[in-house]
């Protein structure tokens, strides 16, 4: 299964963190720091895989991709295929790109909820459920529509609902 999805910037600041086996927040920060320590050491022209036994326990690997100012990191165990995970990062990033129209770090910073919504459509409880970004976007739009329509009635503060309009 996929153990964790971490998006962080090249300074090591986490932007999206999701662990599929529960870790307390302090532990999460510690793990993110170790991951950053490993990734920041790596040159650009090297492979995208890192054996993560020392950080996440035996049998785990992580795969990462470096886009502009961001690292996208997926941590997984032996039940996943390495190259498929690499593809999945691509799917995720493409989905973000389509959702935010040329995604940049700021989009991710200010769309905490939407990021989780998107991610949860692709990976569900550590299992890959959807690999088509079109389907993911469709599902997310439906949820947003539902929330918007009901928030119009219940007068949810606009500052909250506005975030889903981005």
């Amino acid at each position: 299964m996929i153990r964790a999805v971490i998006v962080m910037n090249t300074q090591g600041k986490p932007r999206l963190v999701k662990f599929y086996d529960f870790q307390p927040p302090e532990k999460q920060q510690e793990l993110i720091r170790s991951v950053y320590g490993v990734l920041s050491e790596r040159a650009d022209n090297v492979s995208n895989f890192v054996e993560a036994d020392a950080i996440f326990g035996p049998g785990t690997q992580l795969v990462y991709k470096h886009f502009a100012t961001l690292y996208f990191v997926f941590v997984f165990d032996s039940a996943e295929n390495e190259l498929a995970m690499l593809d999945l990062i691509q799917v995720f990033v493409e989905t973000l790109d389509r959702c935010f129209k040329n995604v940049c770090e700021l989009d991710i910073v200010f769309n905490f909820n939407k990021m989780h919504m998107l991610l949860d459509e692709i990976i569900f409880g550590g299992q890959v459920l959807e690999t088509s970004s079109e389907q993911v976007l469709k599902a997310v739009e439906e949820i947003s529509k539902l929330e918007k329509s009901s928030s119009a009635i219940s007068l949810v503060p606009k500052s909250v609902s506005a975030r889903f309009g981005r």
Binding site: R42, I143, E147, V156, V160
Partner: protein, 934 residues
């Protein structure tokens, strides 16, 4: 914030009065993020604590909007800033039933990120709400949220209670292409793995998902099975193999195929016929597929699942070579190497074929690839090629970067040490290799090298002369003394040269090396070893000297030839004579430091004490010098001669390795009560408790002569000693002009080498290994020396078996096994129905077998607490295997039956059994079944 102010006014109308202030001034998540982004560096902690205080106030608000925003902010801070959110678990729970989809979502997101199955005590309170949201009547997005929470934070209790609610979502009836069904499958996986008891309920619907027309459902189900099969015992899923095989044949999705291959990788080793049937589709995929992920998965399945099928292995190896050759994609090169290491030594020809690529990878810019290549090479080490490979790696370690250099050394050290040096034939070579490793400028593996030097000294008698030679080389080099990583090696070298001084060509040189001025750089414990070594060397020298005197006196009458053999002794006498002056001079400085630096008392005491011993010895031995001058009065003090001989015989007593279990084998003498309470003896201590050790050490102080020199004087003297030492061993010194300018500094031992030859490193490497990695017969020029090996507790250590997880997996697989056997079978394949009836009958008849497994099940659930002892659970494991095997037989047999003729029943089956047994090798238990069947 325009949005913020307008929102507060809009919530004004709905919010009750008390929350007015809160709502009015509440910061939204965006406001919080902006504040965090605009704060100056270092102000974050105070900002965060203010934000949390704010959230704590807002979250108690009766207004759901305020509460939701507060919860959202907290979730954000907890997720990305690592703040604790467990205190708000109840507030998240409060929002779960909210009718607003947004609030509900925020609450579920908060819960899924912060609820922990075992530490969140309010988790059981969510059961009712989850059930409500899971019900088919609630909107799909709500169910989706509930499933999500369930798949992340299900505790066993929650899983047990909610498993029935998953059923409608899992079934195809609800809606044919519901987006919820794959999610329900993923949630069912989690439920199954935390609570195996629900297997009878959920297993069948999950199997049904495999035959869904919706690919996403199939994908989720296959993923769930892949997870189950790879995390535990795959045996229970063997009956599903035909189903998986069908999906494999029908499905075109790479994602599904990859997961299926994961399952088959686990199943193929259990069932040879399955492996045989997989060869064709796998070869097909390997040839046709353009998706590298799928090709790699095929390679993995072939290498770890069906290594006996040469056709498939051949094809897969070719694919791996393509991977290795892909110059522009380090990922493929890396995975190619990983694939090769799955193959194992039996298929070493595959590594041999890509030898060049593997060796070249040692110089890859990617550390992953280098490490993998190293790993691969080390797997290929045999006693015939260990010399070549080790030399290659140790040489390469000189050129590579510090981290990898140490990995290389590590690999060589651990491989050669394996199983009490079973690979090493030529110990002289290995010992000198150890010496070379110590000279690697990056070497930080001092402890391991120390251990091996001493260990080989103890175990391999024939290696001692070479060991002493190597040790001399290390000790005499002043440049090594400054490297803190090497002091352990030097300590071992000092010990070896003291212990086996009889093999030394020139003990005097040894004493000089051991007492050289720069030894002050060593940590105290190592210095203590040095001093002790000097003590041993001196004792040896003088004992030889005295022997020599005796001989010469005996032969002085005849003045006969002393012969070539005694020339060594001759040199020893010379050594002994000059040892004294040198020794004393050296000792004074040593001792000076030992007394001056009382900082680390414990260690210093060790140095101090040994230095005293040594001084005492030298003082006594001084007398001998006077004998020489007097020449005739050498009988004068035979006492000293005796003492020296005594000391020498004391040290020449050989130390041997001791088995870790040796103590156990010592019988307890009769009359010795080990459990006796020694507290009763306390009174004897209080009576005459003095400080004996102290008094002795102080009485020695009277021998002290000229040691209370001030630091300046001693430093002047040590500098002059250093100059003296250098003059003698110019070999190790810097060029003179540099020597002049910074006289007290040697090149640092771990100065990095110039990276001059980096460019042609791969070529060098490949050139170096014209030798093959494949083992081949080598004529050993000399026989392997005896290596002392103790019968037990040596080399191979027994690891405590991992029990806890396994037992859980066993539970699950047991439950699934029962689910498969009990509830009949996956309904998707119609053809099985004919079998079902006969199987049911078999089960009724084979009632005893079932009851055995039942009782086993009970026993297990009862014993859950007693899992801790490894041997116990292992024991049970065996028992279980035995219980299960009849059932397994049934299974296999049945499949066999199905494959051949599915319409007929009993007789037909009977006829087929012998063949099935022959194929399956399950003969031992077969007779028992026969009885049940009849």
């Amino acid at each position: 914030m325009a949005g913020g102010s307008s929102s507060s006014s809009s919530s004004f109308s709905t919010a009750p009065a008390p929350s007015l202030v809160d709502s009015l001034f509440q910061r939204s998540l965006d406001d919080l993020i902006k504040a965090l982004r605009s704060q100056p560096a270092g102000a974050e902690p105070s900002l965060l604590s203010r934000a949390v205080a704010e959230i704590r106030r807002e979250i108690r608000s009766p207004d759901p909007d305020t509460k939701a925003v507060a919860l959202q902010k907290l979730t954000y801070l907890s997720s990305l800033h690592g703040l604790d959110a467990s205190w708000a678990a109840f507030h998240a729970l409060e929002l779960l039933p909210s009718p607003s989809p947004l609030h509900k979502r925020l609450a579920y997101v908060a819960a899924s990120l912060s609820f922990h199955p075992s530490t969140t005590d309010v988790l059981p309170l969510s059961t009712h709400q989850l059930r409500k949201d899971l019900s088919p009547s609630s909107p799909p997005p709500f169910s989706s949220l509930a499933l999500h929470l369930l798949s992340l934070s299900a505790s066993p209790d929650l899983a047990l209670h909610l498993a029935p609610d998953l059923l409608p979502l899992l079934s195809p009836r609800s809606s044919p292409s519901s987006p919820l069904r794959p999610k329900a499958a993923a949630a069912a996986l989690r439920t199954l793995s935390v609570c195996p008891d629900v297997a009878p309920l959920l297993f069948k619907p999950l199997v049904d998902c495999l035959s869904s027309p919706d690919l996403r459902v199939v994908s989720a189900a296959v993923g769930a099975f892949a997870e189950l099969a790879s995390s535990g015992d795959p045996t229970p899923y063997l009956p599903l193999a035909p189903e998986f095989y069908r999906v494999l044949a029908e499905s075109g999705s790479n994602w599904i195929l990859i997961k299926l291959l994961k399952i088959f990788t686990r199943l193929a080793p259990l069932e040879p016929r399955l492996a045989a049937r997989l060869v064709d589709p796998l070869c097909d995929l390997l040839r046709r597929s353009s998706a590298q992920s799928l090709v790699f998965e095929c390679v993995r399945t072939v290498f770890s699942g069906l290594p006996d099928h040469d056709r498939a292995v051949r094809l897969a190896v070719d694919k791996v070579r393509e991977f290795l050759a892909s110059a522009d994609d380090p990922n493929l090169r890396y995975l190619g190497l990983r694939a090769l290491s799955m193959l194992g030594p039996r298929h070493s020809w595959a590594v041999e074929e890509s030898r060049e690529a593997v060796i070249r990878s040692l110089a890859d810019p990617d550390p992953n690839i280098r490490r993998e290549a190293l790993h691969l090479i080390m797997v290929m080490v045999f006693d015939s090629n260990v010399v070549e490979i080790s030399v290659l790696l140790v040489n390469y370690a000189m050129k590579s970067d510090p981290i990898f250099a140490n990995e290389l050394l590590d690999a060589v050290l651990t491989t050669c040490r394996r199983n009490v040096y079973e690979l090493i034939v030529d110990f002289d070579w290995y010992v000198s290799l150890l010496g070379e490793m110590a000279r690697n400028p990056h070497c930080t593996r001092g402890e391991e090298i120390e251990r091996q030097i001493v260990d080989i000294g103890l175990r391999v008698r024939d290696a001692r002369p070479e060991l002493v030679r190597v040790a001399r080389g290390l000790l005499i080099d002043p440049a090594l003394l400054g490297n803190p990583f090497l002091c352990r090696i030097l300590s071992a070298a000092a010990w070896v040269s003291g212990e086996y001084v009889e093999f030394s060509r020139n003990p005097l040189e040894l004493v000089e090396a051991l007492l050289q001025p720069r030894t002050s750089l060593l940590p105290p414990l190592v210095r203590a070893v040095y001093i002790q070594a000097v003590f041993k060397v001196l004792a040896f020298c003088f004992s030889t000297y005295i022997d020599q005197l005796e001989i010469s006196q005996l032969s002085s009458l005849g003045n006969s030839t002393t012969g070539g053999a005694s020339s060594i002794v001759e040199s020893n006498t010379a050594a002994a004579a000059s040892c004294i002056a040198d020794g004393i001079a050296g000792m004074e400085s040593t001792d000076g430091i030992a007394t001056v630096g009382p900082l680390s008392e414990n260690d210093e005491v060790e140095v101090h004490g040994r230095a005293r011993n040594l001084l005492g010895l030298i003082h006594m031995l001084r007398e001998i010098l006077t004998w020489k001058t007097e020449e005739q009065g050498f009988i004068k003090d035979n006492r000293i001669g005796e003492i020296v001989n005594l000391l020498q015989s004391m040290f020449s007593e050989e130390l041997g390795p001791v088995s870790v279990n040796a103590q156990n084998r010592v019988p307890v003498p009769e009359g010795l009560v080990l459990e006796e309470n020694l507290a009763d003896l306390a009174w004897t201590l209080t009576e005459d408790d003095t400080a004996p050790s102290m008094s002795i050490s102080f009485s020695l102080r009277s021998h002290q002569h000229g040691k209370t020199k001030d630091a300046a004087a001693s430093s002047v003297r040590s500098a002059s000693l250093l100059a003296e030492h250098r003059k003698r061993h110019g070999l190790y010194y810097l060029p003179t002009e540099k020597d002049e300018t910074e006289s007290n500094d040697y090149p640092r031992a771990n100065d990095p080498l110039l990276p001059a030859s980096q460019g042609d490193v791969p070529e060098d490497l490949v050139k170096l290994t014209k030798q093959s990695l494949i083992p081949r017969k080598v004529k050993h020029t000399k026989p392997r020396p005896v290596v002392i090996k103790l019968d037990e507790g040596d080399g191979v250590s027994t690891f405590p078996s991992t029990t806890v997880k396994e037992s859980k997996d066993d539970l699950l697989s047991g439950a699934i096994h029962d689910a498969l056997l009990g509830e009949g079978k996956p309904s998707s394949s119609q053809k099985r129905y004919s079998d079902k009836s006969s199987r049911g009958r078999v089960k009724d008849i084979a009632d005893t077998g079932e009851s055995v497994s039942q009782s086993k099940e009970n026993l297990e659930s009862g014993n859950r607490e007693h899992r801790s002892s490894g041997s116990k659970s292992k024991h049970r494991g065996h028992g279980k295997e035995r219980h299960r095997s009849p059932q397994k037989n049934e299974e296999k047999e049945e499949k066999n039956h199905r494959n051949s003729a599915r319409s007929s029943h009993h007789h037909e089956r009977h006829k087929h059994r012998p063949r099935g047994e022959a194929l399956l090798n399950v003969a031992p238990r077969a007779p028992v079944i026969q009885h049940f069947l009849l």
